[in-house]
């Protein structure tokens, strides 16, 4: 029981990072972006490439950090991956979403995002192959936190959780205490009115993609660190991330963060009641339950 709870929190932190980016994009650009989870894949593969590059350039970087399987090279790669993924997100917006936005409606955007997701997935498959890849071949053994009740945690997961929480806190500080954060909230509230107040909407959209892409990249790397990397990683995480976004309420960053943990915990605890074959249904059930009980999500507000 306690093990499932802890596992849920650890998995949830990754979902939260993904959901925060998604909720911002969905709220500002007003469309369900089904390609968002693919940014996690881009981030994960990007870090894989740079991890290799750094190790080749300067072998001491290949040493692991403390008890983790994470190397210094990979730590650096996370930062580079966040940058590149953010850049890819902007590029995708310029190439696809911006054009569709100016011509088509909300539904066209949704379909375009499906197309983008498929393209990214298949390009990654072409470039890196369909087989699973790993940052490190070594298996890091879990640490026994308590014997009764038995509680096992992998050091990598603790790192992912701490790093994810840190990123969320930084984001919170930026949004709550800077002019940029204020502007962002203004755009979310009412794009037209915010423009009247002198906010550059296009610049805001780019900033949103940067945040969304960066967070997704971090989530992708953390996922790869605790699981494995493959081209369908984004597709597998899409539903839990959407569930987290909807539970939290579209547009609510804090809601998305909480939603991620909630979905993670619920999926893990579900195994105590449901046979394991049914566990993929849990995110769906959560979405349904939330939509019936509180259609705007826990932290969401009704949109005018």
């Amino acid at each position: 029981m306690i093990q499932h709870l802890v596992d849920g929190i650890l998995v949830g932190s990754i979902l939260s990072l993904g959901a925060i980016g998604l909720t911002m994009v969905m709220h500002m650009l007003r469309f369900a972006n089904f390609s968002h989870a693919e940014l996690l894949s881009i981030g994960a593969y990007c870090a894989l490439v740079f991890d290799g590059v750094f190790k080749a350039l300067y072998p001491p970087l290949g040493n692991v950090v403390g008890p983790l399987s994470l190397t210094w090279a990979l730590t650096l790669s996370i930062l580079i991956s966040m940058t590149i993924t953010a850049a890819s997100a902007i590029l995708i917006d310029l190439l696809v979403f911006k054009r569709v936005r100016s011509k088509g409606g909300e539904l066209s955007m949704v379909f375009a995002s499906f197309g983008v997701a498929m393209i990214i997935r298949n390009v990654l498959g072409l470039m890196f192959g369909l087989q699973a890849k790993l940052y490190s071949q070594d298996i890091v053994f879990a640490v026994v936190l308590s014997h009764d009740p038995l509680l096992l945690v992998k050091p990598d997961q603790i790192f992912s959780l701490v790093a994810a929480l840190l990123i969320m806190v930084i984001l919170h500080l930026v949004l709550a205490h800077t002019t940029f954060g204020y502007a962002l909230r203004a755009v979310a509230e009412n794009p037209n009115l915010s423009q009247v107040s002198g906010i550059n909407l296009n610049r805001m959209i780019i900033l949103i993609w940067i945040i969304g892409g960066g967070l997704a990249a971090a989530a992708g790397v953390f996922y790869g660190l605790t699981n494995q990397i493959n081209p369908v990683l984004g597709r597998d995480l899409l539903l839990p991330i959407f569930a987290a976004t909807i539970v939290g309420g579209i547009g609510s960053i804090y809601g998305a963060a909480m939603g991620g943990f909630l979905v993670g915990i619920a999926s893990n605890l579900a195994l105590l009641i449901l046979p394991s074959g049914y566990s993929p249904a849990v995110p769906f059930l959560i979405i349904l339950a939330v939509l019936i009980v509180r259609p705007t999500g826990f932290f969401g507000e009704e949109r005018a």
Partner: protein, 421 residues
């Protein structure tokens, strides 16, 4: 003018056609059709169909079946149940076949069996369907003895897995299986087999395709602290689950199904953790008749039979034709099906899997005797449900990939499986 030439040409053509027909009829006065529904539109399906046709050609050269030439009407199943059923319906209703070869996938063979061949009383012989759902159907009497297959069921592999666990002295085992038809089938079978050799199954957990994390499932399987782990998974989720399992301190005593015989799995888990892993697989028999088939096939097709189900396809077609020979001319599906035991009779005259063997069988059968077909997959023997057994191997991971650990002969497999029931 033009019209006249056309007319004349047509008449001449017709005359030639009739005379050609006449000369063929003179050599052999009848043609019997058999049907085949095989996935010829996929690359691995073509050789299976070619092998079946090869058998028919051989038998026709040897004088045909029951005095008639055999014509195999081949239709593509496209690995699609709907297409397969349509094809089978056309063969049975329009061509009037009494024997149907096919299909390959269990998912295609099953609807053909239940909605076409059994209602029409046509015998169906599959080269390659492995699902134990057919066994269940046969036990309920719903196949009416018309169903046979020359491919061993998942039961063989499950039994060998239990045998390995027993021989290694494990007292308790947890099972992780893939949540699809194959995985559910083998997961259920192995659980029953473990129980019957006195091994406790601490947990049996289904793993779904494409899940973000298998942590919860693995934790669930770990709970009972089993001495060994049985895996019926594919490499992708297998790697993820086993890495979790090992990192959480699970036992490295693992028994795995043939689906994990992959370099991806070995490399991503790491050879250092797989020292105590034993895999199972069904195998070709190490018999003379099996090597004779390989030689014969290589000589005819210019390459060794490397694809799946080729030896099985050869035997399926040959046994069907032998049964037709035994049943005599104009026999119906049920009569032909009832003759299968007569041509695979262990106390009968052994015959080889080629044209000569067929000629010999013809004489023996004409004299009222029975024959024992020594096929490409060994001494084929169907049980009451139309299932065959197969020899098995156990294997382990090595630097070069996998290495065979032991060969378990058909007799040993059969004996062990009988001891389970």
């Amino acid at each position: 003018m033009n019209k006249h030439i056309k007319h004349a040409a047509l008449t001449v053509g017709l005359a030639i056609g009739i005379s050609a027909y006449g000369s063929a009829a003179f050599a052999q006065d009848c043609t019997t059709k058999i049907g085949a529904v095989l996935p010829t539109s996929v690359d691995w399906g073509k050789p299976i169909a070619a092998t079946a046709q090869y058998v028919v050609d051989q038998i026709n050269e040897a004088g045909g079946v029951a005095g008639c030439q055999i014509e195999m009407v081949l239709r593509d199943s496209q690995v699609d149940p709907k297409v397969g059923v349509d094809a089978a319906k056309a063969l049975v209703d329009l061509d009037g076949v009494q024997v149907l070869i096919g299909a390959v996938s269990s998912g295609v063979s099953m609807p053909i069996l239940t909605s076409v061949t059994v209602p029409a009383g046509v015998m169906q012989m599959s080269c390659c369907s492995s699902s134990t759902a057919f066994t269940g159907l046969a036990q309920e009497g719903k196949t009416r003895g018309l169903w046979f297959r020359t491919f061993a069921t998942s039961g063989v592999q499950a039994a060998v897995g239990a045998m390995v666990a027993r021989d290694r002295g494990h007292k308790s085992v947890a099972i992780l299986y893939k949540n699809d038809d194959w995985g559910q089938d083998i997961g259920k079978l192995i659980a029953a087999d473990f129980e019957s050799v006195g091994i406790e199954v601490t947990a049996s957990v289904a793993l779904n395709d494409g899940q973000a994390s298998y942590r919860a499932e693995v934790t669930e399987a770990l709970k009972g602290q089993p001495e060994a782990l049985y895996l019926a998974l594919y490499p992708k989720e297998g790697t993820a689950a086993v890495r979790e399992w090992i990192s959480l301190g699970g036992t490295q005593n693992m028994i795995v199904a043939n689906s994990l015989k992959s370099d991806e799995f070995r490399d991503n888990v790491g050879l250092q953790y797989l020292g105590n892993t034993v895999g199972t697989d069904t195998a070709s028999p190490r018999s003379e008749s099996a090597s004779a088939f390989v030689e014969q096939y290589t000589a005819h097709f210019g390459g060794a039979p490397s694809g799946p189900g080729l030896a099985n396809s050869y035997d399926a077609t040959m046994i069907a034709l032998l049964a037709m020979e035994a049943a005599g001319k104009d026999a119906d599906g049920a009569q032909i099906a009832s003759m299968v035991s007569k041509v695979t009779d262990p106390s009968g005259t052994p015959i080889t899997a080629d044209a000569d063997g067929f000629k010999q069988a013809r004489e023996v059968l004409a004299g009222g005797g029975s024959v024992f077909y020594q096929g490409a997959t060994g001494n084929v023997r169907f049980d009451a449900n139309g299932d065959v057994s197969a020899p098995a191997v156990t294997w382990g991971f090595s630097d070069a990939g996998t290495k065979e650990l032991s060969f378990i002969s058909l007799t040993d497999v059969d004996a062990f499986m009988a001891s389970l029931k």
